[in-house]
Each structure stands twice: as structure tokens, then as C-alpha cells.
Subunit: 568 residues, 2 copies
């Protein structure tokens, strides 16, 4: 029997729900409501619109075949009614109506539904700082905001920009400001690293160095106290500094828009987020919800978690569309993934970072592997940096993070791990992971396999490591004489260091170690050094064999130290 489905919210999830449902039940009626008339746009494209890579906001609102997804498009191509510039004020579940308010005239009306979908998305969490309402202070919440930001930069109003928050959106906006517009841009972050919680400090520092080389300034571990200016923002005052700023972008995260659901008495998490079952149904069987306003199951921790993502929203939309038509489609949850392009590198994560794992109560560790992304004999190749997060006790793989060159090589490794995380893979599963191989794409023993194997050696106590940042601390404290720095590379690589630091840097190539074992001291901690950590691991085993065991293999080798921007 034909029914009336009402969808509150017309970006990402909402349109996907409507289109899927109408394909299954063409006789039923769908009404989609939105507060603005900039609907159904690709919000993740905003930084590329701000940068100028995408010339018009219409492109973000168009289909792949260049049709503008506006009211008329939804009516003619999809037979979906769209009501814009009205806000859903209230859901009266007993009467099955939504109360709407016209944002222009202010009139109220009631819209009856058979089934309702809440697709209200998220709102930026704006820090309550003084000056937040000055002109030139923006959040990145909608296409509307993006258009204002782009207008400001394109009309030359902005010489200096400050981004508050070094998460993915903050960094993308920083690149957008710098790359095409040449704006002097500073990112201020309250924690001690960029991409906090998403990747390790080591990977974060590597990414930060790359952005610095591309002209972006960073202020880490700094709280913003207030914004100052006359009408328009002019300065950002942090605890330690005053920054010139003609524009400020607040990119400090988002929170679910769950108020409508909460007020209607639907089950909502105490910390925020509408609660749904695996069919994406709320506590009212006539009401579904999905996208940035809900919590879904974290498939690693098993707990309801918040994963705001346009990609998940689209997939959830299809599931809701199916279920509105009487289907039993399931959305079982997510492990959490992200990838970001930053100038000429890419950085990404699947599952839990070490910091997140610890926060979730896991006794976890991580391991770093540096290896070429292709066969080492193939002419075009780049080093890739991958870290695996592992639960110590069980050897269960909880997540992986990485940094690579501009292309899709990192995407490939992340994409191989994301889909299996829900099966609680072991490090051996990663070591044996079967991936398509040929020299232009990968190594016979791909970096992913090497990562699993290295993690196994670590867990079994065969590979004792020192992280690159800790190694740098040892090096800086070399004057205390506690550490012996042993370079296991060929003489050609070691020579410049030996000549520069004759008292501290000793060269014994790994293949000569057995013969020159008497040169190794037995009374000091030994840092074993090679290019990426392979030969130093081999050296460690040779030293173990003769009872020299206070040795630490520099994870990721000199390649990682160099990528951290450390001059040794």
C-alpha cells in the first residue's frame, strides 16, 4: 500500500534514502525537508571549492552527469517532493506528524507521515571564546559557509588566516588557503600533535613537516584565548602568542544534531547521538535515523560510537531506503576510517590508533614499518610508512595508520585492512594477507605483509625496538655516554655520520658483524641503525646469539628519522 515517507534533512543521507525508497516503491510518496535550498551537495568537497580546484558550488551539488540536484531535479528525475527553507520544529509521534516552520514568514504547519527519517546531520562544536561573532570568523558547516569563505579569499580580503583545530578538516582548509591563494596560514592546535587521536605522534610530525615545507605554520599545544578586532577579526590571542588574522576558521570537530529526536522522546545517548538498531531504526519503529546524527556500533570495541562521515551516511541511506520498503537490510557498524591528501602526501587510518586503543582500555602497542610501495627494483617508487596497532595479550590487530606519497598506494593498503578488522585479525593474518602483486604496484612481500611479520616478531620478543622520536632523544642525550650508536648499513651510507660524529657513531655493516663482534661493547645500551629497520633487526639477532641483548632496533630506520625532519 502506498505510503508517505517524510525525510528531515536533504544532504547525503536524506537524498539517498529517498531515491532508494522510490526505486523500490514508486507508488509511494516521499517528502524531503531542508532549512536551506542548497541541498544534496557533497560536503566533503568544500575544501576543494574553497581552494578553487572546484570552480562553482554547483559542481558540488551536481550529479556525475552534470545535473543540478535541486528541487526540480528531485521532482522530475526522482519523483521526490522537496520543501526548502522550512525547519522541523517538533515530531509528534502519537499523531505521526512533523511540525514545520517557514523560516521566512514564520508560519507553522503540520506534515503527516507514515514513516519518518531523521537525517539532521551534525553541527560544529564551536569553542565558547570571545570574539567568536566577529566578521571573518567561520565554521565549515555548510555550503553556505564555504561560499562566504571563498568570497572573502577571492576578493583579496585575507592576507593572514588562522585555522583553529588540526583535524582533517582544519588541515584540508589550511592547504586550500595556502595552495592557490598564497594566504599566510597558521594552524593552532590545543594538543601536542596534528591529527590528534587519528595517527601517532611520529606520523603526525612527518605530515606536519611536509605541510611546513609547503608554507603552513603550526602552533601546537596552544589554547586560543580570544579573537580580537573591530567588527572584523584582526588577531588571534593564544596563551603564548598573538597572531595576525583576517580570517579565522573554527575546525574543532562536530556533534550530532539530536535535539529533535531527544525532544520527541526517542532514545538518545547521554553524550549525544540518536541510538538506532542495526536496521537503523530508532526506538520508535516508524522512525529511522542515520548519518551524522546517530551513533553506530564500533565493530572493534563493540560500543556505540560516533563516526560522522559522508561515506557512511550514503551507505546508511540505502539501508534505510530498503527497510522503509519492508526490507531487512542491515548496517552492522563501522571500524572508522579516514584518508586525507596533504599537498604531495597522503595520510590515513583504519580502526584504532594507539591513542584511541588505550583510551578504549586496550593494553596495546604499535609498530612502524618503512618500505617501498612497489618492488624495490621497479624504477618509480616511494617509501611508505605504516603503523599497526596491536593488542599485546592477544596479538589482535586493532587498526593501522600510514603515510604515503600522493597516489592511491596508501589507499590500497588501508582498504585491504579496513574490511577485515571486524573479524579480529591476528598479526599473522596481516603477514599472510593476499594482495594482487606485480612490480609496478607492490613488492612480492608487500609492506602490509612486512608490517604483520614485524609485529609478530615484536610480540614474540624477537624484535626489540626504539621509536624514531625516542631514538632522537637518545641521540640528543648522547653526551651521557649511555648509548652506543651502531650503524649496520654499508660503509657508503654510514661514512658521513662516522666522520661527523667520530665519538658516537660507529659503523659495522650487518654482513661484517659476525667477524667484527669484538668491536661491540657489552656494557652499554645499543641503538642499532639502518635505512628502514631490516638490517638492524638482523644485527640484533646476531648480537642476541652471543648474549648482547640490551639492543634496540630503530623502527623505520634513518628514513623515518629523516622524515621527522630531524637533522642528525
Amino acid at each position: 500500500m502506498p505510503q508517505h515517507v517524510v525525510i528531515i534533512g536533504a544532504v547525503a543521507l536524506g537524498p539517498k534514502v529517498g531515491c532508494r525508497f522510490k526505486r523500490l516503491e514508486p507508488e509511494s510518496k516521499v517528502t524531503m525537508i531542508d532549512q536551506t535550498d542548497l541541498i544534496s551537495y557533497g560536503g566533503c568537497g568544500i575544501p576543494y571549492f574553497v581552494s578553487g580546484d572546484i570552480s562553482s558550488p554547483d559542481e558540488l551539488q551536481s550529479t556525475s552527469f552534470h545535473m543540478l540536484r535541486d528541487k526540480q531535479f528531485f521532482k522530475e528525475a526522482k519523483d521526490i517532493d522537496v520543501i526548502t527553507k522550512k525547519r522541523a520544529l517538533q515530531i509528534q509521534r502519537d499523531k505521526k506528524v512533523v511540525v514545520l516552520q517557514d523560516l521566512g514568514a514564520g508560519d507553522r504547519e503540520e506534515l503527516a507521515y507514515d514513516q519518518l527519517v531523521i537525517a539532521t546531520g551534525s553541527t560544529p562544536t564551536v569553542p565558547q571564546i570571545q570574539g567568536r561573532d566577529l566578521q571573518g570568523v567561520y565554521v565549515v558547516a555548510s555550503l553556505d559557509d564555504a561560499i562566504k569563505i571563498r568570497n572573502d579569499v577571492a576578493t583579496g580580503k585575507v592576507g593572514n588566516a588562522v585555522i583553529i583545530g588540526a583535524g582533517a578538516i582544519g588541515l584540508e582548509m589550511a592547504e586550500a588557503m595556502t595552495d592557490l591563494w598564497g594566504i599566510e596560514t597558521t594552524v593552532v592546535e590545543i594538543t601536542n600533535q596534528i591529527l590528534p587521536g587519528l595517527v601517532s605522534k611520529n606520523l603526525a610530525t612527518m605530515a606536519q613537516r611536509h605541510m611546513e615545507e609547503n608554507g603552513i605554520n603550526f602552533l601546537l599545544s596552544q589554547e586560543v584565548l580570544r579573537l580580537e578586532g573591530e567588527g572584523r577579526v584582526e588577531r588571534v590571542i593564544t596563551k603564548y602568542e598573538t597572531l595576525k588574522a583576517d580570517m579565522v576558521i573554527l575546525a574543532t570537530g562536530v556533534k550530532p544534531n539530536d535535539q529533535l529526536a531527544r525532544e520527541a522522546g526517542l532514545a538518545v545517548d547521554r553524550q549525544g547521538g540518536i541510538l538506532v538498531d542495526e536496521h537503523l531504526r530508532t526506538s520508535d519503529p516508524s522512525i529511522y535515523a542515520g548519518g551524522d546524527c546517530v551513533l553506530i556500533k564500533n565493530l572493534i570495541t563493540g560500543k556505540p560510537s560516533y563516526f560522522p562521515s559522508g561515506s557512511l551516511a550514503n551507505r546508511q541511506g540505502r539501508v534505510i531506503g530498503t527497510n522503509l520498503a519492508g526490507g531487512q537490510a542491515r548496517f552492522e557498524g563501522a571500524v572508522g576510517t579516514f584518508i586525507i591528501k596533504l599537498f604531495d602526501i597522503s595520510v590515513g587510518s583504519v580502526g584504532l590508533s594507539l591513542a584511541k586503543a588505550k583510551q578504549e582500555g586496550f593494553d596495546a602497542l604499535n609498530t612502524l614499518v618503512v618500505q617501498f610501495d612497489r618492488a624495490h627494483f621497479y624504477p618509480e617508487k616511494d617509501l611508505m610508512y605504516l603503523e599497526l596497532t596491536i593488542e599485546k595479550r592477544s596479538g589482535r590487530v586493532l587498526g593501522m595508520q600510514g603515510l604515503g606519497s600522493k597516489g592511491d598506494g596508501l589507499l590500497a593498503r588501508l582498504s585491504a585492512v579496513a574490511p577485515i578488522l571486524k573479524y579480529s585479525p591476528s598479526v599473522a593474518d596481516i603477514g599472510n594477507l593476499e594482495l594482487p602483486y606485480s612490480p609496478p604496484f607492490s613488492a612480492a612481500m608487500d609492506i602490509l605483509n612486512a608490517l604483520g611479520n614485524t609485529a609478530e616478531n615484536l610480540l614474540e620478543g624477537r624484535n626489540r625496538v626504539v621509536d624514531p622520536d625516542e631514538f632522537v632523544r637518545w641521540w640528543n642525550q648522547r653526551g651521557n655516554g649511555e648509548t652506543f650508536f651502531l650503524d649496520c648499513r654499508g660503509w657508503g651510507n654510514a661514512q658521513p655520520f662516522v666522520e661527523k660524529y667520530p665519538d658516537h657513531w660507529i659503523s659495522i655493516p650487518q654482513d661484517e658483524l659476525r667477524q667484527r663482534i669484538t668491536e661491540v661493547p657489552r656494557d652499554k645500551k645499543i641503538a642499532l641503525i639502518c635505512n628502514t629497520g631490516v638490517r638492524s633487526y638482523e644485527a640484533q639477532i646476531t648480537l642476541d646469539q652471543i648474549g648482547i641483548k640490551d639492543t634496540y632496533n630503530l623502527q623505520g630506520g634513518m628514513a623515518a628519522v629523516k622524515k621527522l625532519g630531524e637533522e642528525i
Copy 2:
């Protein structure tokens, strides 16, 4: 207790076994035997050495840190003894000795082992054709062969080359001949497509067109009868043609070297291939085997299968190394993967192709999706072509094949599916697959998700399709008046076709279809056409609704037809 491990074969698997085992048991002794002294090289790099991309064979034999993996390297860096230029003639299992013959002097000796590893690899299956022994006729079995081929092309001896066999190695060698050396190259294939059994005829034709555009000739469905010449090869005689040839490369597949194992009474498959358990142990508990000489479990069919691959060999090598040292490492099998770069495109597969699935007794079908590899609004992007192989009854996903541009985008999609195939994923699992997303890397609804969703619609009978090659047949027979060709794109796209074929090609944009429904005939089969198959699917649902059901959505749309090289 220290033991003696003997490894027969020193390429890929053998060295990996030896190195892993020595790291676990440094006190034990390892002896590795090989017939040549070109050991431990990257065989998959041969085409790049022949092409000149890699300048010296040493590069294929070196570590990533440029050390030549020769006898001396294994002794000094790994403490492994290597015996070269001797052949293992016999395994005497009762005495635990291997009988070796010196390939120079002819002397025989016995080498005692505690545990033995058979890593004898594979041999090309050479067709028994006349002229096979002429000069200039090669197989690609070893680095030795590669050096001879490269010498011939580099010294200008080769104006015309013929490759027999259009599998992965044949195509890589064809590109190597053409790309840098400008040799007029023809690939002769006995079946009616390139990459037979690996990808569908549609994807194969797309790849073939691309190679033809790069100057390579193809003769399909042609058997080679004989090779002719005086001393050196001059001509290739097929059933229908005579081809000039200064060089012939036989690339018609490989077979496992299992004779030694067979003669020693170990369990060997009737069709060839040493049988091993999941610890890679043969029927003799003191003898392991792995790499190209064994069969392993196909994780999709459950049957012992042959997967010759340098990548699997490396991973198996580590498992054997662990087990030789008393470990219980498992190698559970493989789903089968491949990827190949052909000039500016990449082609690959994971699991079963439709042809392989049918051969294995599955009642299977496949579906084609064409979509941009990145967000459609992102400036740099390319169309990607993916096909999913599905078991009809269960909806189980058996495999995926694809074609993409030069980069790693295809690798990423294949890598996401390969690791989950052993869990028997459903099409919904592919539709909901969680992958890292941002516009420079993927679409919010990635092509992989779209592929799963399209397959679901197909299985549920909601999406009735026609393959691009079948569509071309309908078009070529348009004179019979059986088919109505309905273009669902905007007028701009449809116009040139309508003007060229006013009697056959009709334009009704999908968003006007509801209004213009009377223009659609009810007495003909209807082919629905758009760019990639999305709007034509939408049109099909609209037509279904009013009872016009003899309609077929052109899978992959005009993008696929164009990629097949068909001029319409």
C-alpha cells in the same frame, strides 16, 4: 638442538625459508642448492629488465639496499651456505640424503639433511611445435633467458617479435618489446580473448584496444602450427597467417616442477603439483614444499589449486621457515589474485572470473559497473570498470575483476575484496564495505559499493541488463527492427546519435520520461542507454511501473561501449 636444513631451489621461496629459519635458529645450519648461480632474483621483474626500465640483471638480484644476493651475501649476511651449479637428482628419504650432481664435472655426492625443503618452482609449458629449437625462440623461465632476450633486442637483431600466449607474462613481454625498443610485436592467442580465464571478454577487449593503440598487434583464436627459419627463427605459421619474426617468445603458462618429489614417493597431484598440508608439510613430515611446485587450497572452491606467484612463494617461505624451527605457522590457501600494468592502464582480478566460476561448477553471473575512481566533482579523475562474479542462488561473491588507469586506484579496490573472499561475502557486504574516503581518493559511494548494490538489484530482478558486447550485436542487427534504442541522457549527449541514426536512436532524457511515456513503444524490446548505466536503470524502474518490462539496461553505458572500441 642444532639441525641441518637443506633447501632445493634458491629463488623466491628458498631464500625466504632460509633467512627466516636462521633468524629463529641461528645455531642451525642451512644449505641452499641451485642449478645456476643466478640465484634469489625477482623473476616478476624480468619484463622490466627486458624493456630496459631496469638497466642491469644485478638490480633484480639485489636487496632494496643494493647488495647483490649472491653466494657471498648469503654466507656473510645470513650465515647460509649456497651450493650452485649442482642439481638435486634424488631424495633418499630413508637415509635422509639428497643426491646432487655437479653440472660441470658430472660428479655425484650425497648431502644429508635433518629437514628438507623442496622449492623447485615451475617450468614453462612449451607447446610441442616444429621449430621450437631455432635460435631466437625463447621462454621466460629464468633470469638467464631474460638476459639472452635483452641481448638480442639491444643488439638490434629483432625487428619483428611474436609472442605466443596472451596471459599476463605474454602481455608484459609485448609491452617490453614495443615500448622502449620499438619492435613490431604481435601477440598470438589460441582462445578468443587476451587474459583468458582471468577477466571477462568485455574487459579483455578493452585492454586489447588500449594495447593496439600503443602499437601491439593481436591475432586471437589462432593456433600456431610451426616456427620456420634457417638456424634462426624467421616466420611463425598460424592456421591462417604467416608472420615475420626475428624472435618468438613462448608464454603459454607454467607447470610445477614436481618430479623430484614424485620420484621420492611423496604425495603429488595426478595433474601435477606437490600436495602439502596447511603447515606446508609434504606427506613426509621431514620435508616441506612451497611456491610454484605445490598445490594449495583455493579458499573459494575449497579444492587444491595451482597458484604460481612470487608473492605467495615469499609468504609461504616465511611459514616454512617458522615451522622448520618447531613453529605451527599456517598457510591456509589463496583466493588467486593478479594485477598487471599495460601501458597507461591497469587490469586485475581477485578470486574467480565468470569463466573460472562456471568451470568450477558454480551457477554464476557477473555485473559490470563503470564509475569515476574519485569524487565526481574532484578535478582529476578517471572512469574505472569493475565486474563482480556472483553465485546466482546464494548471492555469494566469488570474485572481482577490473580495469583502471595507470595508478593504484584499481589496486585499492582489488585489495579491499581479496582479503574478505574467504569469508564468502554477500553482495550486501560489498555494498556496505567500509573504505577510507575523501574526494581525492574515492566517491562517498565508492565504485565498490555501487558494484555490490548493482549486483543486489540484478539478483533481485530489479535491474535487467544487457552486456556491452551483446548490446553492440543488437545494434548491428538494428535493421531487423526488433530493438528500440532509447537514450536516457540529456539532449546534449544524445543529439549526435539521434542526428546520425534518426530511424533507430531515440532521445528521452530520464527526467522527462514520466511526461513523455507515450513515446515509448510497447511492442519491442527496449535497450536503455546512458553514460554509465545509472540513469538507464532509473528509467527501467519508471517503465516497469507502467508495465513496459521488456527493457534492458546497457551495463556500463556508452562509456563501456566506447572503451570496447566500438564506433556507434
